[in-house]
Symmetry: C2
Subunit: 273 residues, 2 copies
């Protein structure tokens, strides 16, 4: 087991965010400490040489070649960065060659092709605006437009999940709180009834919920374990009665919760459940 | 140039979101139509066999083996999926082997190691809550806590960028509108003055702005090209006078805008500018 910090460069002609996310998940497999340095928008020979200089400086400073993930479409820029004093892991070329063979066509070597889809962009912005306007039951208008309506008690993760679904998938994700009045009536909030088929529930462990609520309102009845247990039991009874699918969010990341929601509601088979 | 739709599977023991993003950007290099199917949470032999069945069915149905990106940590599951009738692109093993050699240590083969960092998770949720509470100048409280304050005129992209910075990087990103009253006074909103060092401006082309505003308020003075030009010129003059860095968002994705903001404000060198 090494305790030395290893420097990791991510060199991309775009933002490098996807490559950085990938690098973080694969390096989480190693018991070592990594420091990530992202070098985005490397779209000219000058910038490629600058990246090489940074990598070589890090190699000298730490006495060991940095790990370098590259996603460079342009072969010239790729060749420049490929000569840096680092362990080069070429995410682009590694997969382009077998893809060219499998598809029987050549890649276009065009940078940033993904970003010019303005319809998808507009869709995404609209979804974010929709989710913001329909956060925490703020508005009952246009719920018919929602792709999904997340329900759950307070502090269960509805807001981040809605925003993530909007941001990543352009989904109009509303969210609606379940409150003690709903439990007393023993019924879903009436505005939601027509949309039962697109409701998804978020649940959480009582201990974790009490912890989270105590951070916000220390010592309140709202945060008491006993009250958290009551709300959770009532919410669970309602989900079951109304046949609403649900997921326990306690130890899940926002991405995991969002993926589980998608698996449950998607009918167009872009995801397998 | 092929016009046949090719099926692309992303098989992952986690959410598969990173692999899906990567697959989309690399396939954007090919002039073909792709349909992505994500198969998340493949963490047992049964689920691996189910994935193989889906891949093989698609191969039969379309008469051509699908493209299959895999990120499976477990060698047994990887071997099962590796036998599917597809063009297997193993994102995990391809890079783990050279990394093991470079680092001189073995990978742990543990699934989902990344998600158990609860501090990072808490930080991220707090940042989202902060950014929501400080959206569109809603609150002047705790601006001292902000990692960045985005400023700009209406509909320039402040809200999605703030939320993205919070979601992806756990940054407390406030945003504040610049309005005609600020231009008449010729000064930054006074609540922002103490924080000038962490302000970043978003700008946009007048034509595009007019288009966006017309979608929201058709035919309004607010949306008129002339008015958009006025607001943009005034905002630009203010940025220059106050030495505030800025970026034009017109044809940029949220990720590109966020990356540019980070390059400008980051002092801890996790990103190179």
């Amino acid at each position: 087991m090494s305790t030395q910090t290893r420097i990791v460069f991510i060199v991309s002609d775009g933002t490098g965010i996807t490559a950085e996310n990938f690098s973080q998940s694969i390096l989480a497999q190693f018991e070592a400490i990594f420091r990530h340095i992202r070098v985005p928008f490397v779209d000219s020979p000058d910038k490629a040489h600058d990246a090489v200089t940074s990598i070589n400086q890090a190699a000298s400073k730490y006495g060991v070649p940095p790990i370098v993930f590259t996603t460079l479409v342009n072969p010239k820029l790729n060749a420049i960065v490929g000569k840096a004093n680092g362990v080069i892991l070429d995410m682009f070329q590694t997969f382009v060659a077998p893809l060219e063979q499998a598809l029987g066509i050549k890649s276009t070597h065009a940078m940033n092709r993904l970003h010019h889809d303005t319809d998808a962009y507009k869709n995404r912005i609209e979804a974010i605006n929709y989710s913001l306007a329909h956060d925490d039951g703020q508005s009952n208008r246009n719920l018919a437009e929602a792709d999904v309506i997340l329900v759950g008690i307070s502090r269960v993760g509805k807001t981040p999940t809605s925003l993530y679904l909007a941001m990543q998938y352009g989904m109009k994700a509303a969210n609606y709180p379940l409150i003690p009045e709903d439990f007393e009536r023993g019924q879903l909030p009436k505005d939601l009834v027509p949309y039962r088929h697109k409701i998804f529930g978020l649940m959480i462990d009582a201990e974790r919920l009490s912890e989270i609520r105590n951070e916000r309102r220390p010592g309140s009845n709202y945060a008491k374990l006993e009250n958290c247990r009551y709300e959770i039991n009532e919410a669970m009874a309602m989900m079951k009665k109304e046949s609403i699918p649900w997921v326990v969010t306690t130890s899940k990341s926002i991405e995991e919760i969002a993926t589980t929601v998608l698996q449950s509601i998607k009918s167009d088979k872009t995801i397998l459940g």
